[in-house]
């Protein structure tokens, strides 16, 4: 079981979690791993919480990661990171976009966006990278590139080569967005905690 890598990608509908999952899975496939990905389309796309799960290793059965078995959490939004925190392995790795996207109950004033998310994330026993991927994406040229910025950060501690990452991104995005996404990836890859 330990030979399987479990990556959970959490975000808000429309942020591009599915594309991030696709890029990681292309890399894993190229490295000849058995790969399974689970994602849910449909209703939750409209600004709701979304999850993409990627599992790869010698042999993968379930496309769903058991709670408490997440090796890497790639969180596109801070509140979503906190929501998924207990699902990580104690020595797992968390990469979090520090962007705050308030959900509807917060927008209309019926609930409060927790002010202590950073502190609560800091209590995590594994490793935490908190970066403003939104700003870096804007730097790269478009806020839609948050996902490739986060993938850049993820690439720092992964066994895949930089050229493989670039290749997977080029294969997964539309040609007109290739340059933007490669730029965004490089910004994430160069980001130092």
């Amino acid at each position: 079981m330990s030979s399987i890598t479990n990556i959970m990608i959490a975000g808000v509908g429309g942020q591009g979690t599915i594309l991030a999952g696709r890029i990681i899975s292309l890399l894993a496939l190229k490295a000849t791993y058995d790969v399974k990905v689970s994602e849910v389309h449909g209703m939750s796309q409209r600004g709701g919480s979304v999850l993409t799960q990627v599992r790869y290793g010698d042999e993968v059965h379930s496309p769903i990661i058991d709670p408490g078995e997440v090796d890497i959490l790639l969180a596109f939004e801070k509140l979503e990171a906190l929501r998924m925190l207990p699902l990580l392995k104690p020595l797992g790795r968390m990469i979090v976009n520090s962007q705050e996207i308030p959900p509807l109950p917060v927008l209309n004033g019926s609930m409060i966006y927790p002010a202590d998310i950073d502190q609560r994330l800091q209590t995590f026993s594994g490793s935490l990278s908190l970066l403003n991927a939104y700003e870096l994406a804007l730097q790269a040229g478009n806020d839609k590139a948050v996902n490739t910025v986060l993938l850049g950060k993820l690439s720092q501690n992964m066994a895949f080569s930089l050229s493989d990452w670039h290749q997977a991104i080029s294969a997964a995005v539309k040609p007109q967005f290739e340059e933007l996404n490669l730029r965004a990836f490089d910004l994430g890859a160069a980001y130092d905690d």
């Binding site: 389309h41 409209r46 059965h61 379930s62 496309p63 925190l85 109950p105 004033g109």
Partner: protein, 578 residues
């Protein structure tokens, strides 16, 4: 051969193409939609969006009778709509292969119920295959077409959300071209009046016996003998979860889930010490096993509700405690919402003023049921808004306000139109509001007969909803832009006062369509804003409360100005037009 990662839905389309398929007809519905979208990418296939699933299945049946391998794809509740042709197609049989896809949704990720469509195969007496990953989705689609022709029957391929939207590796092959079989007139076989249908029923029962014999030998039903202490009968996604949770357990994996291989299951139960059935939703296998006198344990341990994941399987069968890892509690939830700039929000803002019962329907606008809009009273099934209003009005004869029916144009075309004809014919006192956003939005932007394009985004004739309503006999028909709140409110008021059924077409394209122009974002002038929060009552994700006053997120605001119109103090406006 190339290895590729495909979703189950992509794999079904690929399998259909590889097997020499020709005609695909479908109505979009999560989690089935991408099957047809992907089928449309293959030049050799004819693919279409039909107005509903009954139409789709009948088109596919006609094509199969006409000699072409065919497919109809739908979500689980779509098969309810297509149930009529399904049951009788089982009598007529086919000519070339016919596969019917039912994509079920255990856990209700995007559905109004979680019915278990394996029962349809049992009830209609047709074979049903259930894949557990993308490779099987491809292989079983090919097999379904072969079986269909070998046994002269439609074949049901049952997917679930996790298989449809899960990705796994698939070996791709080339297409095997199938020549179109000649169309042969055969009224004994295809005219299902009583005289013809009675002998066909006998054919159907005989066919099921033959299929039962096939089930005993087919390789898609697979015995995996490992540790004999525990034996598990399972299929589909649950098979993968079982393998994950209990890798040492013996498994009887069902690929053909109707009819069941009775003898092999009896042998399996004898070969293992304790037999379990792990299946999501209903006790479909368990009940059949128990009816044969096989001792097994299923729903005593597993829920009839939702999905079953590996930790539950492990805990239930090994009795080992698993540590529960729940999501962080007490956080603000993030429900899906109507997008900023969504025209539905504008329609509901006007509708709410009428204080009338609102019968809702299936589509993005169902999201208006939640707070703060809370603008819908019922959601049942496609088209039910029109008919339920009619019934409600008949029941509440003395009510002061007419009930409203609210549904999208695609849903109206799907099955609202017959309800409207009924409303005219039987003089209903209702107002039907058709939210025409020029696309089937909730399922991810599929074209429909009113959008002007077909499944391949090529120009198509546009259905004129106003003319159609008038042709049904509706005398009060108005088309308005919902962002013109004055005009919409006037049209609604007129409709409510009108004696007889009225139709309002609230027409504005989905804000997410690439061609829709967005206006410059608005902002809230804090010198004027008094913090009354009226603007927050429309549930726009671009608006939020900061302290006591409202702010607008300029990255989300589309400048639709619905909020500005509600502000009594005129505190919301564009930077350019103060």
């Amino acid at each position: 051969m190339t290895k590729k990662l495909l979703t189950g839905n992509e794999a079904v389309a690929r399998g259909f193409w590889q097997a020499g398929g020709k005609v695909v007809s479908a109505y979009p519905g999560t989690p089935s939609t991408e099957i047809t979208e992907n089928a449309a990418h293959y030049a050799e296939l004819y693919a279409e969006w039909a107005p509903n699933e009954k139409v789709a299945l009948e088109v596919a049946l006609g094509a199969a009778v006409g000699g072409a391998r065919s497919m109809a794809a739908m979500k689980h509740v779509g098969l309810n709509v297509a149930a009529d042709p399904l049951f009788t197609a089982a009598y007529t049989g086919i000519n070339a292969g016919l596969v019917i896809i039912s994509a079920d949704d255990p856990g209700m990720h995007s559905s109004q119920n979680e019915q278990d469509n394996r029962h349809y195969a049992l009830a209609a007496k047709i074979p049903c295959l259930e894949p557990s990953d993308s490779a099987e989705a491809l292989a079983f689609t090919e097999l379904a077409l072969d079986l269909s022709e070998e046994f002269d029957t439609p074949v049901l391929l049952r997917l679930t959300t996790r298989v449809s939207h899960g990705q796994s590796t698939v070996e791709l092959s080339k297409r095997t071209e199938q020549s179109i079989k000649p169309y042969v007139r055969d009224i004994q076989k295809y005219v299902m009046a009583p005289a013809g249908a009675r002998p066909r029923h006998a054919v159907l029962e005989k066919r099921m016996l033959e299929l039962s014999a096939y089930a005993e030998k087919t390789e898609v039903n697979r015995l995996e003998l490992r540790d004999k202490a525990i034996g598990i009968v399972c299929s589909g996604a649950a098979y993968q979860y079982v393998r994950e949770a209990l890798p040492q357990a013996s498994v009887f994996k069902l690929g053909l889930v109707n009819p069941l291989p009775k003898q092999r299951l009896c042998d399996f139960s004898a070969a293992v010490e304790k037999l379990y059935v792990v299946e999501e939703l209903d006790a479909f296998y368990e009940q059949q096993l128990k009816s044969w006198g096989i001792k097994c344990c299923g729903k005593e341990l597993f829920s009839l509700l939702g999905e079953i994941f590996p930790p539950q399987i492990k805990t239930a069968i090994t009795k080992q405690d698993t540590i529960l890892h729940e999501e962080t509690p007490n956080l603000p939830p993030r429900p899906p919402v109507l997008c900023a700039g969504c025209p539905h929000r504008a329609t509901f803002t006007a509708i709410k003023k009428l204080k009338a019962p609102v019968m809702g329907d299936i589509g993005c606008y169902t999201l208006a049921a939640g707070p703060p809009l809370s603008a819908i009273d019922t959601t049942v099934c496609m088209g039910a808004s029109v008919t339920m209003s009619h019934g409600l009005a008949k029941a509440q004869e003395n009510a002061k306000v007419k009930p409203l029916s609210v549904l999208g144009e695609s849903t109206f075309i799907h099955s609202g139109i017959t309800g409207l004809i009924n409303a005219v014919y039987n003089q209903a006192q209702i107002t039907v509001v058709i939210l025409d956003n020029s696309i089937t939005a909730m399922t991810g932007h599929q074209h429909n007969p009113a959008s002007g394009y077909n499944v391949r985004s090529l120009p198509a004739p546009v259905l004129d909803l106003a003319a159609l309503s008038k042709a049904c006999g509706v005398e009060y028909v108005k088309t308005v832009n919902p962002f013109d709140q004055k005009a919409l409110t006037a049209a609604l008021k007129g409709a409510q006062e009108f004696v007889g059924p009225a139709v309002i077409i609230s027409k504005y394209p989905c804000i997410l369509l690439p061609y829709v122009k967005r206006d410059k974002p608005l902002f809230v002038d804090w010198e004027i804003c008094v913090g009354c929060k009226v603007c927050l009552s429309i549930g726009c994700p671009a608006l939020s409360l900061k302290g006591t006053k409202t702010v607008i997120d300029s990255s989300q605001c589309t400048g639709c100005a619905l909020c500005a119109g509600l502000c009594a103090k005129k505190a919301i406006y564009g930077r350019d037009n103060k």
